[in-house]
Amino acid sequence: MKYFVHFRFTLLAALVTLLLPLLVGSGSLATEVLIFALAALGCNLLLGYTGLLSFGQGIFFGIGSYTTGLALLRLQAPLLPSLLLAMLIGAAVALLVGWFAIRQRGTYFVMLTLAFAQMFYFLAYTMKDLTGGDNGLLDVPRPNLSLFGHTMLATTSPWQYYSFVAIVFVLVFWLLQRVVDSVLGRTLLAVRDNETRAAAVGYDITLLKLTAFVISGAVTGLAGGLHAMMTGVAPLSNIEYHTSEAILIMTVIGGTGNLFASVLGASFYVLIGNWLSTLWPRWLMLLGFLLIGVSLYLHKGLFGVAQALLRKFGVRPAADIADTTSVKEQHP
């Protein structure tokens, strides 16, 4: 029973992957939900667990897209290595960006992540030979999952690809949940809560933040790679500021005290966005207002709302150690 409690959120995540096909008509849309859920998880690891507000997640997402695209197009690499490469490069770039950005704290750090996001956008724009510039990489193939020549899992149809992505998603969620429940995860919380104190008791803050960055970069890069295969394109827009912004908004709206909250946030953003955009092209304005509202009143996001509702019905959700009653800010 104790294991059940430990794994409850991973099981919930798995449940979501089973529910999505029932609720959502399009395989691509369902896959998009999971892909951005992964990206939001990467963002949440930095924000909710390490206290780092990053406007640069689009960098890793875009780089992941380009890496997988290039691996598939130029190297004719199979499915898994293409994705693994995206994770590796995503992690490497995160290490680089993180190393620069971490030299500053508080708001200065946040500004730097935004500046770096712009930098990588222009970098991708100029390196036309690699990235296709404005056009992006086109006709990115989507190989089946095969081992030694035998097809293990077809990915041709949208729902077939969805099942592959679902497996990857649950696996990554489980791994991330283990990370946040581990000593490393707990130590990251200490960094989030009070950097100075964490250093004073002996922790290398820079190393810890970089570790969080690297993991985040890997997960976000993976999401980018999956995205490129889903759409068949690795576009410039994946590395653009607005992708960073969207990932951040999903994470914040979902709530930062819990990994599963990111799944909620991404689902909300992608599904509501998909629906609203048909009604009103300027639906992002509502999202802007929602962000304002969350900043003022709903700090714990959708997950917090869900918790409050559960409590009203007498269910007392087991407290997650990352849950904060008062988010302690970092000093600038």
Partner: protein
Amino acid sequence: MSKPTPILSARHVSKRYGKFTAVNDISLDILPGTVHSVIGPNGAGKTTLFHTLTGSTAISAGSILVEGEEVAHLPGYKRVRKGLARSFQITSLFPNLSVRENLRLAAQGTRPLQALNPWRRPERLRAACDSAEQLLVRLNLQAVAERLAAELSHGQQRRLEVGMAMAGQPKVIFLDEPTSGMGIDDIGDMKRLIHSLRDTTTVLLIEHNMDIVMDISDQITVMQQGQILAQGKPAEIRSDERVRRAYLGSMITGGKA
């Protein structure tokens, strides 16, 4: 009989902020197993001295030796492994984590590489967990072990603050105004706690409460405007004319003879 080797030595330590010298050429020897208090009026540079010794701030000049080993070039977090630990003047805890978790993290800090493990659950690292349990008893915080640090009373928080410094079983513990803002009852508890520290650790103490300082100290260093005004045993300090003048007399006449 030869002079015992100091466990901590500050040699010509200075800290400058631009043109302003907060700590000016301070040399100190701290003997092991003693309680060494640093007192002085506000702005004397006591906390800054602590910052430089523990590594919270980089030193401008001088050298710091822990058991003969130079540590001045080490950043603060590395000095923890050399046996230094501190509490802060303004309470600095992990507000959203439980009291037990605060202590566990502090205990784990002496083996920070273990803390990078992304797989093992914290409960499995028994050494740190056990330290935390023992500390809870010693600090008399068992009743609130599961409460978030932010929810504690001020007195409890100050105790936890000291506990965070004790957690790593340091060689030298720096306590910066541990009783600040505390009520009479809490002060008594704190005094007993500091007393109990003498058996296992060397204590450096910044305090304004002269009752405690005179009672508990083996050595007192009086600072003024970044420099050492006087140094010696409590009785000597109490009768020192310069110190009286610096403190306007009344403050240091408290405490037992």
